[in-house]
């Protein structure tokens, strides 16, 4: 094959295509891209216009993994939330202590994302982007709202921003860690 499709679009497609179509759909697009001399833009358009259906199909096929990952995140959130609600009123409200506390909560949040990624990969067999994306949005939404609602403060903007940026890479890292362990075993 002389021409190869745009790398990032091909990776994106690989991440969302259901397991049973990992050969056919990327293969069809790669073949048409090479033989019919299609443009990069054409390839991107094909990926982007198919991504919704493919992601949904993948996601629907992995209901148990989603449930397991969501359960891990929920447990982590309950533990963190209980800690925040119990400890925050007792510590003196100095700026540096609140900052350290928020950093610790953020660390626990991204750690729970990594564990959720690890758990979902255990069931799906790979770091599954649609599932992890769903779990990431779930974690960020609940965490941002609920974690700070009981203590009379709202989560600072940098905390929300950092959580949004870090959750998905950490979940993917957890998933990769699991699959690497399986391969080396």
């Amino acid at each position: 094959m002389n021409r190869t499709p745009p790398r990032f679009a091909a990776l994106l497609l690989k991440l969302v295509v259901p397991d049973e179509e990992q050969e056919s759909i990327p293969g069809d697009l790669a073949e048409e891209f090479a033989t019919a001399k299609r443009s990069n833009l054409w390839y991107w358009r094909q990926v982007m216009s198919s991504i919704g259906y493919l992601a949904w199909k993948s996601f629907a096929r992995n209901g148990f993994a989603v449930f397991a990952g969501a359960a891990v995140m929920l447990i982590a959130l309950v533990l963190t939330g209980t800690g925040v609600r119990t400890l925050l009123p007792r510590i003196p409200h100095t700026q540096s202590l609140e900052f350290a506390f928020t950093v610790a909560v953020l660390g626990f949040g991204v750690l729970s994302a990594a564990v959720a990624g690890y758990v979902t990969a255990r069931f799906v067999g790979r770091a599954h982007l649609p599932t992890l994306l769903f779990l990431g949005v779930f974690l960020v939404a609940i965490s941002s709202y609920w974690l700070h609602s009981g203590v009379g403060t709202t989560a600072p903007m940098w905390y929300r921003g950092a959580l949004i940026l870090l959750v998905l890479p950490c979940a993917l890292f957890g998933g990769r860690l699991q699959t690497r362990q399986v391969k080396s075993a």
Binding site: M1, T4, E23, S24, E32, Q46, S49, Y53
Partner: protein
């Protein structure tokens, strides 16, 4: 007759594309055939979504062939229309013909 026994427009088109392509019916060729004959841009995801639906209904069967180098070593998934699929096509064609009887379809220029 139950609602699910009639073909949707795109299901109809995909089944006809499969019949036209015969033994060469796989994702890329199906997509190209539809695009060339209908003149409308078709996403590969839409083709596979429909293929999955009509496979579940028992209208087509599918199998994976050996990997080929022009596809980066990936296998093709072929599709074949089954007798139920042909019957569904006939039903839909007949229904359309009955609906069309007695009316003249012409684009109004007024």
């Amino acid at each position: 007759m139950a609602k699910g026994e009639y073909l949707g427009e795109f299901e109809h088109i995909v089944l006809l594309a499969l019949l036209r392509l015969g033994k060469q019916a796989y994702g890329m060729r199906i997509r190209q055939e539809i695009e060339q004959r209908t003149g409308r841009s078709v996403a590969i995801g839409a083709v596979y979504a429909t293929l999955e639906r009509i496979t579940t209904k028992g209208y087509v069967s599918t199998w994976l062939a050996d990997p080929t180098p022009e596809r980066g070593g990936r296998a093709k998934r072929f599709y074949k229309v089954e007798a139920e699929g042909v019957a569904a096509l006939e039903r839909s064609q007949k229904a359309l013909n009955r609906m069309r009887q007695g009316i003249r379809i012409a684009r109004s220029t007024a």
